[in-house]
């Protein structure tokens, strides 16, 4: 089975600075890590490979230094990497990001399964995984928490829901996004880390992926960030007491009284 895992380099701190012009995160000068949810995606891919055999390719879109997280992925045991890096990719929203990632995955040939973390801890959108599936015309299952069956051409998955989980069969090729319940990420291996030291990830830009500058980066993004701010933590607090039914009713009353919500007639 050929598996592509999407990983994103994210800043390793809550105190990231924002670019006042673009309102996007300033990534320079901040220590970067693999998006924690993507570690679960890596773990899921490694477990599927253990059962089904095959090859894992880690794909990342980012600036040249994103190669670091791909090398880290080699340490965890992925076979190959692909870095999608181009000045034209800068400022991409989720839509433009999926354009690059989908084209990158397509360039790998016959991929049976794409695995993504459920979301990135910087943007928190959870849109990129399903967006890639849409671009590639693949069926997808989001919030996968476990595997029931790994077979040729088919996965049977457990999808986490608010009130339990669904059991879903996914025909392959397909895409999944995973939650942390999928399994604790294994430590990197010594042999992997040694290989990572020498490993150089191939790099592809927009032109090599067959994408025009209008399709990617800021130009290819529909999202406009108008303002980004840290919400102030001030405000009144009131502790409500009683049964859940009573306190629930009190919350509704308070919201209505303060005109936060309006009850229809």
């Amino acid at each position: 089975m050929k598996i592509a895992v999407c990983i994103k380099q994210v800043p390793d701190t809550a105190n990231v600075k924002l670019d006042p012009e673009t309102h996007t995160l300033k990534r320079e000068g901040v220590e970067s890590i693999i998006n924690p949810f993507d570690l679960f995606a890596l773990e899921a891919a490694l477990r599927i490979k253990e059962q089904a055999g095959g090859e894992i390719v880690a794909v990342s879109m980012g600036p040249p230094q994103a190669e670091e997280v791909l090398k880290e992925a080699i340490g965890y045991g992925v076979d190959e990497c692909l870095l999608l890096s181009d000045r034209a990719f800068a400022g991409a929203d989720t839509w433009a990001t999926t354009a690059a990632l989908a084209a990158g995955i397509q360039s790998l040939g016959d991929v049976d399964l794409v695995v993504c973390g459920k979301q990135a801890v910087d943007g928190d959108t959870a849109q990129v995984g399903p967006g890639i599936a849409r671009r590639l015309g693949l069926p997808h299952v989001a919030f996968v928490k476990g595997f029931r069956e790994v077979a040729e051409g088919r996965l049977v998955l457990e999808r986490q829901m608010d009130d339990g989980f669904d059991v879903v069969a996914l025909p392959l090729p397909g895409l999944i996004t995973v939650v942390r319940e999928v399994g604790e990420p294994r430590p990197p291996s010594l042999k992997g880390k040694m290989r990572a030291k020498k490993y150089q990830a191939p790099v592809m830009g927009a032109a090599e992926l067959g994408l025009t500058p209008e399709q990617v980066g800021l130009a290819g993004s529909y999202t406009q960030v108008v303002k980004v701010f840290a919400p102030s933590a001030s405000g009144d607090r009131r502790m409500l007491e009683g049964t859940p039914e009573e306190t629930g009713a009190q919350v509704i009353d308070a919201l209505v009284d303060n005109q936060v919500i309006m009850l229809g007639s």
């Binding site: 294994r186 430590p187 990197p188 291996s189 010594l190 042999k191 992997g192 880390k193 040694m194 030291k197």
Partner: protein, 385 residues
């Protein structure tokens, strides 16, 4: 202190530190309390290739030596000596195969041990044969192209968890210590069984069990080296493994210093952190000094062994006896510095103190180590005349 590790050695240290922090520390108290074998952690160590460290590259390993082993063991021990005992015992069981195995034996067993698919164990001690290893009673009789083993082994680390056991048994009682031989026994061999799992003072995350051989039949090809080499195999194995016990001791001691120093900085009495009191600061200073001396001795000995030296029984014994005595003192003083807190199971230092005690006992008591050092001194100074 910078010990000038290679990039690879630093990688081993960092990876073991990461696993110790992320996987071992959060569960060590529970493993200790429940006296539970750390199956999940051992699996993670295997996935991280840490069982490959001393396996030669031609058998799929990383080809490291005694120093690489010591670095890994020290870092794991800093978090939990029970876990590091389970880990290091696999190498203890593997050394006889590494040192005396035939090409076929190495090809068959070393990849299994290196991948962590099978854990290994070394079985010498018996109920009536401890320091006096020459008095073992377990027998192996040749019968056609098989050996038949009868007897039992006691306090075997990884007993019941290992798939591969290296066992010392008597093949010719008339020859005394030269009548012992070493064999490979597999879990599942007919007539082999695991007896009682022991309950212990410390290193409770490790499994210690009795092994029973009741007309246990194994192919003659499982003999290590040749008949009569059993004690040589055991002694050379211990020579190689003893600095590893020293490394465990350095790790446990360093772990207790971490706890004691951090506590002494935050614990206030008479309006001041207790580390500002000379009585406490001097205890910490002695701990730190002895630990650094022990570490330097372990690393220097490991490097000497890895250089291809032949005459390392004495330094190997020194690299076990000194660090383990240091660990006992350091952990006891860590409990003292934490006072009432240290005596409670809410803090890890009482466990470290219980764990440290075994390091003065197993793989040759510290008294036996001093015998070895004394005998070597007698030989050295005898030659000088």
């Amino acid at each position: 202190m910078d010990y000038f590790f290679t990039e690879e050695q630093e990688m081993i240290r960092d990876l073991c530190r990461q696993i110790a922090e992320e996987r071992i520390k959060p569960v060590r108290a529970e493993l200790d309390e429940k006296e539970q074998f750390p199956s999940e952690i051992m699996k993670a160590l295997a996935q991280a290739d840490l069982f490959q460290i001393i396996i030669p590259e031609e058998y799929g390993g990383l080809g490291g030596g005694c120093l690489e082993n010591c670095i890994a063991v020290e870092e794991l021990s800093r978090a939990c000596c029970g876990v590091s005992t389970s880990y290091a015992a696999s190498f203890l069981g593997a050394y006889p195969i590494l040192l005396y195995g035939s090409e076929e034996q190495k090809q068959e067993y070393l990849p299994l041990i290196g991948s962590g698919d099978e854990y290994c164990a070394f079985a010498l001690t018996e109920s009536a044969s401890g320091s006096d290893a020459g008095s073992i009673a377990t027998e192996a009789k040749k019968d056609g192209d098989e050996y038949v083993l009868n007897g039992s082994k006691q306090w075997i680390t990884n007993g019941g968890e290992a798939g591969i056991y290296t066992v010392v048994a008597i093949t010719d009682r008339s020859k005394g210590p030269r009548g012992a031989s070493a064999f490979i026994v597999r879990d599942g061999d007919p007539g082999f069984s695991v007896g009682k799992k022991e309950t212990k003072l410390g290193i409770r995350a490790s499994a210690t069990a009795e092994l029973i051989f009741n007309d246990c039949r194994i192919p003659a090809s499982r003999l290590l080296g040749r008949e009569g080499l059993g004690f040589v195999v055991a002694m050379r194995t211990f020579d190689k493994s003893r600095p590893g016990v020293g490394a465990q001791a350095v790790g446990v001691a360093a772990g207790s210093l971490d706890e004691a120093a951090a506590f002494a900085r935050t614990r206030k009495q008479f309006g001041k952190p207790i580390i500002t009191f000379q009585a406490v600061a001097h205890m910490l200073a002695d701990m730190a000094t002895e630990i650094e001396a022990a570490r330097a001795l372990v690393y220097a000995t490991a490097r000497y062994i890895d250089s291809g030296a032949k005459d390392f029984s004495k330094v190997s014994a020194m690299a076990k006896v000194f660090p383990s005595d240091v660990a006992m003192r350091a952990t006891t003083n860590a409990v003292q510095i934490l006072g009432g807190h240290g005596y409670m199971r809410d803090y890890p230092v009482e466990k470290m103190m219980r764990d440290a005690k075994i390091l003065q006992i197993y793989e040759g008591t510290n008294q036996i180590q001093r015998n070895v050092i004394g005998q070597e001194l007698n030989k050295e100074y005898g030659r000088k005349k």
